[in-house]
Amino acid sequence: MRRPGRVTLLVLWLAALALLGVFVVKHLTVSTDLRSFMPAPTTPDQRLLMEQVGEGPGSRLLLLAIAGKSDEQLANLSQQLSAALRKDARYSQVLNGSFDIGELDDALLPYRYLLSPTLDHQRLDAAYLRDQLEQRLDDLSSPAASLLKGLLPRDPTLEVLKLAERWSPPKSPEVVQGVWFSPEHEALLLVLTRAPGFDPDAQADAIDGIHRAFDALPDHAGASVVVSGPGYFSVVANAQTRGQAEWIGRISTVGFIVLLLLAYRSIGSLLFSALPIASAALAGIAALIALFPQVHGITLAFGFTLLGVAQEYPIRVLSHRRADESAVQSVRDLWPLLLTAIASACIAYLAFFASGVNGLRQLAVFTVTGLLVAGFSTRYLLPYLLPTRVHDVAGMGWLVRARRIVDHLPRPRWIPALVAVATVLMLAFAQGLFWQNDLSALTPLPRDLLMRDARLREALGAPDVRYLLVLQAADAQGVLALSERMEPALDALVARHAVDAVELPSRYLPSEAVQRARQQALPARPALDAALEQAEQGMPFQPGLFKPFVDDVQKARELPLLTPQRFASSPLGQRLSGMLAQRDGHWLGLGTLSGVHDVDALQALARDSGGAVRLLDLKSAAESLVVDYRTRILHALLGATVLLVVAIVVALRSFRRAWHVLAPMTLATFLVLAVERVAGVEVSLFHLVALILAAGLGLHYALFFERDTGDAAEQRRTLHATLVCVLSALLVFGMLAWSTIPVLRAIGLTVSLGVAFHFCLSILMAPHARQD
């Protein structure tokens, strides 16, 4: 193509990329909710797990500790911080140990007679009131007088304090200066975020809000606040992974550019060969935007990694050019093979689509679109831009020598058999578990963070994140009633130290039946007035002092019963909402457990309930989810493999040739697995993804090495292209293998090993080389 035509093409291509870029920037919404990378749950436990992982109270709980000053100053900071956070819409509950009557707003205050258990075993008669009033007189002459004086006319039986006691966390930390303190003299707070626990961005925002609120306190200098909890961990893990990935990415990008400059000695070629990849990435994102409402951050991160395969297409074109040949002509020659390579990589990545996991489907859409765009733009656009005259790599002295060495490698027929036997032996005798089912093992947190979390959790009596008690009934009232019936049995378990504390929904809201019974036990005004008058006989209370009390009792007699919906307007009601959920025509209540010591006792309790109560082990539910997940991916891979074999056989029109391509690829894939197993690596989902990527690369090597051109120069070009591809892949993924983060290491190590094995086996098992 002539110069003006080339310029026009370049301008048009860049303009198209710019338009695509603008579209992407305008419409891309990135989600960070890790749950879209988990498979759709199938069992009720798994479904509950998915909700709990994101929205359960356990996962939204942040533990805060303020340290660094005197107890008194820390207590002040704790009060100020909780006051500031309570005003912030990002937090649905803030607890610091001081009970705030404001939690029960004025309109709800008369409900105290329906919420407190007092009326279950007492009537508001003269004898009870007399006893209460005598106690109040003692209170008034005691140091507590100033505390209670204001409450007395409205609440002489102190129901508000009884509720405060009932609603404070079951196993409270020590209270010093009115707020919770740890044994290490830190002021402790519990903050429930509105944002789901495993949405790292939203959690980062919530945690940032806490630090900002703290830094805005007038006396914060010298003190510090530390945050812990699942949400914080997701933020740390996210930042760690992102930080290392970026750092490694920068180094390998520089290395990659240097490598290509050394290989082709042309800045122009380098810049032009970046165009198909840039087009692939932008087109991939645009396809995601068109098909999905939100694009997951991990899709993009993994997607760019997997697109690494596409870098091969321009590299092949650059390496295979002859000095006397136009780029268009050399691409035409290569195209059948390149098309086979593109199609087979697309088939492999389609396996992700069949997995049924939303995040992986996005990954498939992104990579398949990207590969197709990269491939077709390499075929139909790139050659017209490349410089007309190039340096033919086939003439390079080192390459001639390298090809000679490769050609003269001994290739005994028993090598594949030996490798296969060794692989089988290694897989058979490897120690340890084959599969890694614990997802959290892949994003490990620094030990000190985990220890701090355990310490704060212990000090705060915060609920266990592993076990949940699930109560099931036909409706919300049924759940509350069931929860009430379970209370005695669970109290017995607490007394036996099977569990430190249990928090059931009925702790916050009694069922309507219980409320009704309490309401009916409330005396009418004349009866209460008479009882009060009798009780006050000979006591110094001013006449009419308790009129607000009598009024509240009358109000309570006529109140509509408190439902979860009505209760939801108050902070405590929101706490309850987190413990009640509607599911497939029935209702579930969630009881949180703190300090589980005897799982068997809890399981026995669940068994005796006849199915109404279950003990949910979130850890085993999560593991079963991972196993399901893997099974789906393996099935999808099996399907993809069959498709791949068919595609290669059809493309090469020969079983024998297909065998020469597929055998080294298959063998190398299992060899990677075997070596990792012997090294004690437990195979996770990320290893599987990485194996697929490596297999895709290996397939390309095998396809090109298998190509019998009968032309020594072309063979040298093939070696050159493959070497550039192998070195660039080793550079990028070898860097990742040094990462301290297991997810990155899993991908880096697997792909690096894979690339090395695929390369060696493709060379050693290439058919025609033996015939030379």
Binding site: D138, L140, S146, L147, Q542
Partner: protein, 201 residues
């Protein structure tokens, strides 16, 4: 503010106040009998209790009531703990009972003979008559505390405090007779009777 100026303009007075407070100091633990009458708006007659007050050193105070019902309250580490016969223990933060905070501040400062601590928490005024009777008037410096307790008057003679009157902002008042005076609590005390008793009568 006015009293501050008055103190500053009469340095001898400040010095005698210091000398007086220093002379009140006792080694911990120091115990004294007390009888308290509390006049409250919501009651038509005062509440009277009696027992022992003890300073256990540092910021620890124990108030044991013997009449009419036994009850022991302890203030320590910013927490108030109340134990009553046949009832479960109740405890709450000192922060939620500002009167107690002031009682603690004044009591500990007096029994410790610590004038500077007293002046830290209160504006101190000192009046003395010729007959050896004196009155210390303490006004809380903390504006928030002053919203609940407007002032504390302590009457005494020589190095013995006799009376402590805590005037609450809502009009309620608690009058404690201390030491030998504790025995002088009338059967049906009135504010005036106690005021004249404390006034050296």
């Amino acid at each position: 503010m006015l009293s501050l100026c008055a103190n500053a303009s009469a340095p001898e007075d400040a010095a005698t106040t210091r000398a007086l407070v220093a002379s009140l100091g006792r080694p911990a633990p120091a115990r004294t009998p007390f009888a308290e009458a509390r006049f409250m708006k919501m009651l038509d007659k005062p509440l009277v209790v009696s027992g022992q007050l003890a300073w256990l050193g540092e910021d620890r105070l124990e108030r044991s009531v013997e009449h009419p019902n036994r009850e022991v309250s302890t203030i320590a580490n910013g927490e108030v703990t109340q134990q009553r016969e046949g009832r479960s223990t109740r405890s709450f933060s000192l922060k939620r009972a500002p009167q107690l905070q002031l009682l603690l501040d004044s009591f500990v400062a007096l029994l410790g003979g610590d004038a500077s601590r007293l002046e830290q928490a209160f504006v101190v005024e000192h009046h003395a008559d010729g007959g050896g009777h004196w009155t210390l008037t303490l006004t809380p410096r903390d504006a928030k505390l002053a919203q609940t307790v407007s002032r504390i008057d302590i009457d005494g003679s020589g190095n013995e405090p006799h009376c402590m009157r805590m005037q609450e902002a809502d009009g309620d008042v608690a009058i404690d007779l201390l030491g030998a005076y504790a025995a002088k609590m009338p059967d049906a005390p009135t504010r005036d009777a106690l005021a004249s008793l404390c006034g050296g009568g």
